[in-house]
Amino acid sequence: MLPNTQTDKIPGSYQYGFHDDVKPVYSIPPGLSARVVQEISHIKNEPSWMLDRRLKALEAFGERPVPVWGANLLDIDFQSICYYLKPSERQVASWDKVPIKIKQTFDKLGIPQAEQKFLSGVGAQYDSEAIYHNLKEEWKKQGVIFMDMDSGLREHPEIVKQYFGTVVPLNDNKFAALNTATWSGGSFVYVPKGVQVTVPLQAYFRLNAQNMGQFERTLIIAEAGSLVTYVEGCTAPVYAVDSLHCAVVEIIAKPYSRVRYTTMQNWSNDVYNLVTKRAIAEEGACVEWVDGNFGSKVTMKYPSVYMKGRGSRADVLSLAYAGPGQHQDAGAKAMHLASDTSSNIISKSISRGGGRTSYRGLLHVAAHAINCKAKVKCDALLLDAESRSDTYPTNDVRNSSVQVEHEATVSKVGEEQLFYMRSRGLTENEATSLIVAGFIEPIARELPMEYAVELNRLIELEMDGSVG
């Protein structure tokens, strides 16, 4: 048992060495303290600036109250969560060396081996650490970096130091602070000037240790005129104890670059999923978030784009599905901080069996940002009378040259719709699945094909439990 140490007594660098003479531990006991944070940093052998950053973030985390403006987060017990876990000591360079157990997890998710030729580079996070990496030779030649964040910090410390925390500061919000203090894994992507990465970079994430927090940190830097698509999918086994997923994603899109970040998450129904995703778009750059939220107990996630450069663009497609006992509080933020910027937000939510979805969005247009265009469209689909959907749009528009459109619809799966489809031989579940699949089609068509297939399978599974 480690002694509990107060944050304010901890000097800026690690000096205790309590693991020097023993084999490194791969799992730190549950609980959050400066000592835990130091140990995480020590295991990773991080530079002192990162440890400093972590400890400052821990202070910020302690100072901030649990936010009460959104979903209910008061039941999270931060001291019962395990903040670091390492399942596999080594990084493997080829698929053959990936442990069988982990391959089985992939199989259960229905990810075919054949897909690997499509997955030119894969980073899979199993528990806290990425275990598999493969980057196509040509990208190496082009100077593209795609690796887990821990390796990124080790191998490219100067780039990480330059950008880490510049989009999401350590004290941005309570959960960004927690992530900064305890992060492990996540992806580091660097695309040099003018390089077009035509095949998506993919990473599969999953939570696998009971009561474990997952605190991955992702940093994507797209240099001027480059193009990159990053895809991330998550599924998680179901556990009885509450679990926490608290990630931070930072994207820097340099002038005239284009970055698309696609996430499809299916957390187990006991996970608090609290993620800060933010991008900075410089002149003429385009950032697209495609964000699908299934599962979890509570999700709070609002992918944001800060359009700092003239003529930059933000596109957000957000999808949320809430079943019994779930609250999906999702949305988007479009910050128009320069002229001629445009944003397009499409949010689709599905509620079933008493599930609750909320759209929470912020549209900000600065006083000096003229000729901006913004469009927000929120569609909610309710599958039964017990379910709930709310919309909380905030528009903060400070000049009159802006063109803003806002549209919101709520629809219910009707008896007539179901009867029509059942009269053609489909069961109620099959009919509902087809209606839902149709509803989310505008988002599904933006996904890589295997994700669209997985998504449809997920919906069928969810609908299976929905009747009787």
Binding site: G414, E415, E416, Q417, F419, Y420, M421, R422, S423, R424, G425, L426, T427, E428, E430, L434, I435, A437, G438, F439, I440, E441, P442
Partner: protein
């Protein structure tokens, strides 16, 4: 041999109001019947009850289909037996393509009949022929189900599905039932039904089916 369809003293309520007040009807294999009657006489109600619409409550009476109790079956099970209700106002489902819908429905039928599910390619070749018959272009398959369809397109898609379920085969006209106030008051042979068959589907489009 039992009748194909036998309706015995059928009483039906919707929202507490009695609509069908003791309907009796027997139909044999190979017969075409047209129910005729003024608005509100219960034609659509009868059709909906046959298909199992959840809003209609059968208070008494029986319906047998090839000797089997129809009222205990779900709508999809009735469909698998070969019943088909063409809708007057087919509902639309945004984002669901005609192709996906038709293929799902066919798969459900084949599965219930213990037949192999058709691959997307096999389905394509089957449906192309049906589309030609009804003068649909193959792009039609990519559209959202009944979404923004013209009245004619909706009717033709209903007929396509009807035809496609192989239910118009081997039928020959014999009777028309005239319905008044929820009861069949007259049954007779009809030129109308013959006309429908002779002029084909084009004409059928204008017939109020449900």
């Amino acid at each position: 041999m039992p009748n194909l369809l036998e309706i015995i003293n059928l009483h039906t309520q919707v929202e507490g109001k009695e609509i069908l007040k003791g309907v009796n009807l027997a139909i044999n294999q190979g017969e075409i019947h047209a129910l005729m009657g003024p608005n509100g006489s219960g034609k659509s109600t009868l059709a909906s009850v046959l298909m199992g619409h959840p809003s209609f409550v059968v208070t008494s009476g029986k319906i047998n289909w090839q000797g089997q109790d129809l009222l205990s079956l779900k709508p999809e099970e009735r469909s698998h037996l070969g019943l088909f209700l063409a809708f007057q106002y087919p509902v639309s489902v945004t984002g669901l393509t005609v192709e996906h819908f038709l293929r799902s429905a066919l798969s459900a039928h084949r599965q219930s009949a213990g037949q192999k599910i058709l691959s997307p390619l096999e389905f394509r070749s089957l449906i192309e022929a049906e589309l030609k018959l009804l003068k649909f272009k193959s792009e039609f398959l990519e559209r959202s189900l009944n979404d923004g369809f013209s009245g004619g397109e909706k009717k033709r898609l209903e007929i396509l599905q009807l035809h496609y379920q192989r239910l118009l085969h081997y039928l020959s006209p014999t009777n028309v039932h005239v319905m008044m106030a929820g009861k069949i008051i007259k049954s007779a042979g009809s030129d109308l039904v013959q006309a429908v068959e002779q002029t084909g589907y084009q004409q059928f489009e204008h017939l109020n089916v449900a």
